[in-house]
Symmetry: C2
Subunit: 77 residues, 2 copies
């Protein structure tokens, strides 16, 4: 596995994190998976160790769980 | 600001995250700050929005809080 996989669920906080991750790592190096739209990949994500979203699965198999301090504007958005 | 800043506190989980982040983003693009050793930078980190460590401050000013599901081995390590 040479690409990272960014799992999210479409919430505003997830989209913000997605933009940051794509900007930092480069879009060619990260696959974006929207678990709300690709429910068939939820089991795969869980099997890889994803406990919450947004999360980044690195090429070496580690899972980075990304938690913003979500603003109320994000929660309401 | 063109570099990201990775704030951590030296715990095993932080070091693991640091290695992942450096590997993903590239060491030239991220400054590593050990808040346990550089206590004078804690106020700066808090002012930037860091609520917990490890955390990554992106070039556009967002803070990504990274939470691993820390294993007991990590906690004991």
């Amino acid at each position: 596995m040479t690409k990272s996989v960014f799992y999210h669920a479409g919430c505003p906080v997830c989209i913000s994190a997605e933009q940051d991750i794509v900007s930092l790592i480069g879009s060619a190096k990260v696959e974006i998976v929207h678990l709300g739209e690709q429910k068939n990949r939820i089991a795969e994500a869980e099997a890889k160790g994803v406990k919450s979203v947004p999360a980044l699965l690195t090429p070496n198999g580690n899972v980075l769980h990304l938690n913003f301090g979500a603003s109320m504007a994000d929660v309401k958005g």
